[in-house]
Symmetry: D3
Subunit: 338 residues, 6 copies
Amino acid sequence: MGVRLTPANRQPAHTGGPFTLQATSAETNVASVSSFLGLPVKVLTAFVKGHPFAAFIQSDLRGRGMDVEGPSVPQGGPWGYRHQINIADSGAGLRGPRVWNDRAGEVGRTLKVKDFDLERIFGDEGVEMMHLSGLIAALAPDFCLSLAETAMQYGTRISFDLNYRASFWEGREDELRDTFKAIASLSDILIGNEEDFQLCLGIAGPAAGGKDLAGKTDAFRAMIESIRAQYPQAKVVATTLREVLDAETHLWGAIVSGPDQTVVIPPRVISVLDRIGGGDGFVGGLLYGILKGWDTERCAQFGWASGALAVSLLTDYAYPADEEQIWSIWKGNARVQR
Amino acid sequence: MGVRLTPANRQPAHTGGPFTLQATSAETNVASVSSFLGLPVKVLTAFVKGHPFAAFIQSDLRGRGMDVEGPSVPQGGPWGYRHQINIADSGAGLRGPRVWNDRAGEVGRTLKVKDFDLERIFGDEGVEMMHLSGLIAALAPDFCLSLAETAMQYGTRISFDLNYRASFWEGREDELRDTFKAIASLSDILIGNEEDFQLCLGIAGPAAGGKDLAGKTDAFRAMIESIRAQYPQAKVVATTLREVLDAETHLWGAIVSGPDQTVVIPPRVISVLDRIGGGDGFVGGLLYGILKGWDTERCAQFGWASGALAVSLLTDYAYPADEEQIWSIWKGNARVQR
Amino acid sequence: MGVRLTPANRQPAHTGGPFTLQATSAETNVASVSSFLGLPVKVLTAFVKGHPFAAFIQSDLRGRGMDVEGPSVPQGGPWGYRHQINIADSGAGLRGPRVWNDRAGEVGRTLKVKDFDLERIFGDEGVEMMHLSGLIAALAPDFCLSLAETAMQYGTRISFDLNYRASFWEGREDELRDTFKAIASLSDILIGNEEDFQLCLGIAGPAAGGKDLAGKTDAFRAMIESIRAQYPQAKVVATTLREVLDAETHLWGAIVSGPDQTVVIPPRVISVLDRIGGGDGFVGGLLYGILKGWDTERCAQFGWASGALAVSLLTDYAYPADEEQIWSIWKGNARVQR
Amino acid sequence: MGVRLTPANRQPAHTGGPFTLQATSAETNVASVSSFLGLPVKVLTAFVKGHPFAAFIQSDLRGRGMDVEGPSVPQGGPWGYRHQINIADSGAGLRGPRVWNDRAGEVGRTLKVKDFDLERIFGDEGVEMMHLSGLIAALAPDFCLSLAETAMQYGTRISFDLNYRASFWEGREDELRDTFKAIASLSDILIGNEEDFQLCLGIAGPAAGGKDLAGKTDAFRAMIESIRAQYPQAKVVATTLREVLDAETHLWGAIVSGPDQTVVIPPRVISVLDRIGGGDGFVGGLLYGILKGWDTERCAQFGWASGALAVSLLTDYAYPADEEQIWSIWKGNARVQR
Amino acid sequence: MGVRLTPANRQPAHTGGPFTLQATSAETNVASVSSFLGLPVKVLTAFVKGHPFAAFIQSDLRGRGMDVEGPSVPQGGPWGYRHQINIADSGAGLRGPRVWNDRAGEVGRTLKVKDFDLERIFGDEGVEMMHLSGLIAALAPDFCLSLAETAMQYGTRISFDLNYRASFWEGREDELRDTFKAIASLSDILIGNEEDFQLCLGIAGPAAGGKDLAGKTDAFRAMIESIRAQYPQAKVVATTLREVLDAETHLWGAIVSGPDQTVVIPPRVISVLDRIGGGDGFVGGLLYGILKGWDTERCAQFGWASGALAVSLLTDYAYPADEEQIWSIWKGNARVQR
Amino acid sequence: MGVRLTPANRQPAHTGGPFTLQATSAETNVASVSSFLGLPVKVLTAFVKGHPFAAFIQSDLRGRGMDVEGPSVPQGGPWGYRHQINIADSGAGLRGPRVWNDRAGEVGRTLKVKDFDLERIFGDEGVEMMHLSGLIAALAPDFCLSLAETAMQYGTRISFDLNYRASFWEGREDELRDTFKAIASLSDILIGNEEDFQLCLGIAGPAAGGKDLAGKTDAFRAMIESIRAQYPQAKVVATTLREVLDAETHLWGAIVSGPDQTVVIPPRVISVLDRIGGGDGFVGGLLYGILKGWDTERCAQFGWASGALAVSLLTDYAYPADEEQIWSIWKGNARVQR
């Protein structure tokens, strides 16, 4: 895990000024929807012993209602282990946000399953669902695959958001593709866009992807068949549809293919305060719905609205006051509530 | 009167962070348009003796050009009287603002006419117009009715903005409806939407209200006839037309039925920084126009633009630099003025 | 529990400006030392259902490493239950801080033992020590006494910080004194100053208290004998010695009479960023030491330094990075640590 | 009148960063003590028509409880009239504050008595005391002298704080000395330090001024005799004793020679948040005491403490919550008040 | 040169609050595009000796990669020379920004060519292009004309942005028009809108200007012919097309007539954080392209996008991270870049 | 080079909140005194290509009046090169500041002399003095030694501040000691405390160092003899005397042994806003004096006062407005300057 430094007032990072700090990772962004709405959540990760941001992250996650578990690794001198820092502005108008990955010495790369008592966690405590992002899977592939295998053994459902990042994959394509395929083959829920499925799992999308919604939807429907053919254990396959009009205005939709039906939410215009975490918010809402046993339609709607909530906040995660707030967003009702 | 706590940067209140404080009440929000533009304004209210927010409110109102008059009530211990606090964020995107009414021990409920020298105020000093909001009328109904009766005796025009709030009325419907009807029957200017007129005064709106402008306008025209039939002394009946696209974008219009004509301002899209006080801004501009003796068309336009000014500010009230600024908004001219 | 609103930059509250919000209560201030340093802590309290500050407090306490348990009470309308607000500045120079207790409708007054499963908490989960402040004891005396009796039954040690507040006691002296005496008679650890012991428990201090340290120390030693005579079960009796030079500079000392010896820490000059919570920090450090089984001397020193840490922070509680930071303060070592 | 721009966090102005704006002038700084504590205050000054800072100053002064009266002068183009800007930091440690006077085009220099209806103000409304600072006297000497003469005619007491500023006097020594002498000869209350009396009025101080308190006191006592000899109508002659240890720590004392006795307050160490306005605060407290009819001792003490309050605030003026707060400072009691 | 004071959070200036300071002038806004992207830039201007804002401006310009050269003029007392201050808010919604020119005593009016060693600057160091704004040309016409003549002699290309400001020209129309015509007759690049060309140079625009794009474009094409007829040496004639929908939303286009072709960029909707400097950003991007030797189409596109970048920043100038960021804006790609 | 993240309001880093960013390195902190006071300064360092903090650092250094030269190294993926981050709070009261060195992947470790055209820099441009800190010497020892050798060849004076950091030396003692000795043997100016000289250069300090000033001074005098014996080319040997009373109050003195005399500045109490950079400020002032050709006494005084200025600022470096400001600090004159 790491932190994000965000310049105030939508200004870029290279111009300096005041910054705010937040704890961030794809998984905890996702899990926040569930933990804020009362479901138990545990985060497995590693910390740098004595690092001020380690204390900050731990406190922040607990404040979001999550348990945290994992080793504290000694820094090993000034040039030793670190928590990664995302230097990321919100963008403004036609100036898109820029994220600088500052990850040298990232402590997350030391993660090993032997650092955790998985028997206790999966066996005694019990885990209903385990979520993995492709970011951590690219960071610590062996750790993630072992986790997935363990989860499998204990009957824990696995959710996998592919999150392809070109810079993470560069020069490691073969190694990572094998791991990603192995994790995907164990997953109940697979999330990604066409590029993710193609580049991470080698599933070719249909020829005429198209830029428009109709094309995208058809393409994704076709791709779902390929995915289901190769990963028949996957109950849910989902993607978001995002078109960036400018940094403050997006078109935002989703497609969720579940056991009962495939739900298409056509893109609607939404205002964006800070877009980082919008996709994670979608996954967070989707998984919350699945954990609550909702049908695919409600899951998709709740996911869509959780993503829209996330981008209305400066945090990388959705921080719902209550379920009602998310449903209200789904209904497009932004009237004042007194 | 009380204060509003607003979280910075459109963030919600439950996530903590820095807050700004402002003095707030429906009546002072309304009156600010007149006081900033140079008309004399006096506020009648009650304070908690020694409370830091009492000093803050008094200074703030004077700074807005208003006189303040009213008793200072001893707190009576830690669990004694208070100034109410509105914990209210601005919302962002599809996340609507939320207002939490934190009013236990509200000192405003102690307001009694005997605390004021009404003979001096209405008789010697002279009051051209008295404005009441339905909020204070629900808070201190006897006080408001007595004030209205006194105003009547002295020939002071009365303006009444119904401002129905379900949570204020719960369990007190009969008592409040009687008082509201009594005040309305003394009022020269009545402001409210269909729901306000129906729930506060029992005036049934036409069956097919409709969501669209044409329907709304027709419905309101019909309702005006009912209002005029029951409250023939009312010279002006007005309402705003607001449709919330998202927290940052509203459709904003108004209907003002005056002695000379009924003016309909079809809703236009406006950007919204903080919507709290938009309706009060409309009333403030409308009353300023009436006090200046303008015709109904100018009054309606000035009210519309004063509301649009209010929502472009973080304060709950419009703070015009000059009349020209409001007319410039009416003309839709947001060019830089050098 | 409630929140504190603190004006920025040591400015007073009546002048307005930006405020920061923090969750606050005497007990959670105390417990933060233990929870930050890794001991399990559980807070029993009540919340207003749906209140944004309830969510904020819960998140904040969890972020400090505490579990929270207690009922969520419906507000019951705009004038219903509340979380209390301390409007408290830090003072500056010779201008002392001012705290305004804004507690009408405080939800904490509804606390009842039947809202908690005490058998589970004290029996199954197990509680090593329970801490009560005189603030909550004045707020909810029956609840506190019942808690203390329950704790007694389960062999849980009880710590009681008398925290006399004149405004809380006004008109309720007899009722509260009986309750305070009853709780004190069950307590292993009693904390208070001469006034606290006199006014809460009726233990007359020696005639010549004096303003100087020697006099204070002797007086307190004598009082300890009276306390021990009347409350023979108390193992530890403690007080702080604070002389306010100005809002930014205090003399800070302590006396702790433990089972092995009575330790006197003569007052030393300390710089103060925000003094609220200094006393709670002392108790927090003292109790942490007792829980760790340290001797009285180390407990006293750690308490003293935890208080000094608390007043170097804007929060009402000490937020140690680690034990070493507190010992470093004790040693008077404020050199930079690289 | 003008504004002060203050860099945040005690940083200097030449390094940029955020600034706060406040309305400032020596006279309004002085008068704030009285207006906050409930006495009627009116400010005579000039404004630039349409200038945003004119609106800001007017609102600010009214918020401090003052009436404002005076002409609004057209700017006359981009290079026309202005409100002066004091660019002034607070200093820190051994780095003293720096004030940059940015006064080209200052509208205050246009002040003329014919712009005011002095007969109404002094005659009908009645003025108990008029206060002038040497700053405005150097800015608009004719205006000030005429005001003083008018005040004299109406039996209004005159207070004159000499406030010598070398840069204001440069090249205008003769003209200004004549005016200052004329105003002083009409004043009931004269305030200044040795240098002020010498350079403004030509009253030579005693040879051995000395740096120590004893020397200063003796010197000032001797000077008082000279002053009383030349200005026999002066009932009160006062000075402050300030020694700057560093920007955050001053020695602060005062000498007030009144009709009943000469009171010497030996310098005490005080913490300083922002020293600008400390002297004005002293005068403000002194005049408040005189207006309340207090004896010289109480006046001196209240003046001293008002100055100490002013330097504990970021504003250039003392902003007392109540009289008690100032007396508490006098007593050196900076304990928290709950 | 001077500074701009901007109220935080899009609030207006007359309501006070926190302000940020930035160095500003039309020429340095323009030149920032080139200096940030690595071209050498030198600014010729004058400073007030010892003024804190002089130090601030110098540091700021150097930080933007510019050299600064020019005399330091003694202030000459409190009412002496100054750096001008633009008090300018960003506007919000339908409330347009307001700029108050606070320029009395502006040191820039003292600029004289003899203060500079032009032989060294233009001769030895070499200047590829010199840019002048009509603001400085109205401020110091002789200085600007002499500069232009010198540039001419050394073969330096001249760019002239007419920037007509009514308040600057009032009463000086004849004098200024002569100077502007003389400078224009030496310029290689002329920038302005129809009004600028008409009022500064007396070139009558075509009768049917029209408000729509087609009309504007045709009108401007026709005007170009007139311009080229009278100023045949001008290689590039350019204008922006801006329609203000509200303070946060503009239509933004441009027409650039170059040696190879006339490029029309039809207005597109852009989001605006702060519009001040948008026009300068356009000129900055255009000149950068010309300096790089790009064809007219690329120049026009880069100018358009540099303006759009400028209005996405709180600064008055575009601060590109790299060329790619500007091209990305041109392409309308505001996606997050990781 | 890198950046420092400083939490606002003296709060620690592990508690989160707003942070400010500044460019930092020992050498640039030192050189700022000279560059702000008008001497030419060039910084040799390395940057990460495209990193937002690289742009920020370059702009910041230029803004401080420095030229910057050095390679831009490609990041090489998310886990590639970085600019180091000092996470460092200011401390408060007895809570000392903590600095966390976050240096994995630090680009400064790639520095090689072949990346620079040293012939041009030292030969053509000419360098009067080159300053090295022990931090960069521990980071890039070969680079520093080669630089020193080159400087030597060109007759450039060398200044070396040993700056021992245990965590940098761990496990590299032999390697680093050899390099440090080699650099020291080429240096004209050697700066360090007893520990630095002992641990970096192996020069044993006298047995009875003592904590008091007299002892320290004698010890340092004795050590100077050893230093001069081993490093006879060193003209100036200097150290600071700092005793930390608390984070806001230090005793601050210095000893400078120069060619003409050894100057001892006995420690005086100074207030400290942020202590980071105080030592660098001392060196900066000392070197400025040497470059100006001042005698040792003035150099020592100017160094002492530059350090005191640095700790009165939030930046890591002294940012003098002018020479006079530093001399004013030396004289202990913190009076307001108008």
